[in-house]
Point group: C2
DNA sequence: GCTTGTCTTTGATTTATATCAAAAATCACA
DNA sequence: TGTGATTTTTGATATAAATCAAAGACAAGC
């Protein structure tokens, strides 16, 4: 009995491309790791030797400038595959946000899998295509949206992508990352993020005082804001 | 004698995945089109039925907000493949910048090609991976760079990617797009782009008065600026 | 070769967000 | 449970880039 066979998130990841009878190959190709918060998974510019499949928690992906300015390009959560690159080195860094579980594939094993299972490659293409569409959406946000629109877009995206109904509360949005991370993701400063969240609370669009979670009171107004419709 | 066999840019595009003897299949799967400047290739949100391979000229890809704000997410030139999406509709628009030649694939033909030629899919994965890396670099630009750094990055990227040494002039950069397009690509206004280019000229980092081309005098200073090293 | 419209540049002013500063809340750990 | 460190919030001020405005340069068509 190997772990891929009992993996609960298999159908949320590229691993669903592999049939049950071949799962043992997958299990042997990868190694499961559990990582504490703020662990470096990928060092920007280092040799691209490993690939990761996130099975629990959230990973932040980012690029930096020499003087320390940083742009988080995405948050990778359950099911996300990380590390693909055409160059021999990673063009981005990756760090855990909270406690994270990943399956790590080393390059030779991954290449064997890709060669042996065309459906695996097909799934990877679909995943990268999806990530590209998300990146384009984020470019629109970074280049053309106001601070209020950016924060609204962020909260909305998390509400839609991450239905954390486990608490029973309706429209609850969990924010495991710090304000610094949110600011670096939205191209703002922490002060602006904080002020904007406070303003949305004041306007009764969201509620909740917990720093790492809010509740959306008016999804429709949030949606309006996120798409730049108004200032309401 | 079909056109793919004599195609001069085949090895710059995904088509290099297809062997010479199978090229006739490729030629039959696609249709060559010649398009004047400012032609809409892809309407944002329309059904994704066609895919394009650019064989000459430059295409701009963009996303818009309801009130008309626009973000150009990339310029696709020779060899670029356009139109992939997981949803049934395009999440972005595409318009020609100058006179453009494309080979158009309709969805069923493309799917047949993908199924029959795994190397074709492999090439596509590499191309999308590359585009994602570029998108991440652009997110860093949009979220964290100053106007001066953005313009420097843009000019530098075009100098490196598009060596237009045909004119004989060293380090010549061609800018077929308008200031509006450059501004919408860099997340700035046309006035800021214009002022910044003038400032770089004043600082003897670039030269040339032609609106659609400049010459880089100091690639090293431009590189420094683009990576945020200084203000020189 | 002139005229008309478009694109680009330059200038003056405004503004959204950054920066600087400090208080309040939360967290970690003894 | 208390204490110091960290994170978040709020406030005052500064600033880079946007906006508003107009002049110059260029391109296309007659």
């Amino acid at each position: 009995m190997h772990r891929c066979l009992v993996c609960e998130i298999r159908d949320q990841s590229v691993c669903r491309a592999i049939d049950d009878e071949d799962l043992v190959v997958l299990a042997k190709s990868s190694k499961q790791l559990s990582l504490p918060p703020n662990t470096t998974l990928i060092e920007e510019g280092s040799a691209a030797t490993a690939f990761f499949n996130v099975t629990a928690g959230t990973v932040k992906l980012f690029k930096s400038l020499p003087d320390g300015r940083r742009q988080i390009t995405g948050f990778a959560d359950v099911g996300h595959f990380l590390g693909l690159t055409n160059a021999g080195t990673y063009s981005f860094g990756a760090e855990t946000v909270d406690t994270v579980q990943v399956c790590r594939f080393m390059r030779p094993q991954l290449e064997t899998l890709l060669a042996d299972y065309p459906q695996f490659e097909r799934r990877l293409l679909a995943e990268v295509t999806d990530e590209l569409a998300e990146a384009q959406e984020q470019m629109l946000l970074l280049g053309r949206k106001t601070a209020r629109e950016r924060v609204a877009s962020f909260l909305l995206a998390r509400m839609i992508h991450r239905p954390c109904q486990t608490t029973g509360e309706e429209n609850r949005v969990s924010l495991p990352m710090t304000r610094v991370d949110i600011a670096d993701y939205l191209g703002l400063t922490i002060e602006t993020v904080s002020r904007t969240i406070s303003a949305l609370r004041r306007d009764h669009i969201i509620t909740g005082t917990d720093h790492h979670g809010i509740r959306v009171l008016s999804p429709s107004r949030l949606r309006g804001l996120a798409s730049g419709q108004e200032n309401a």
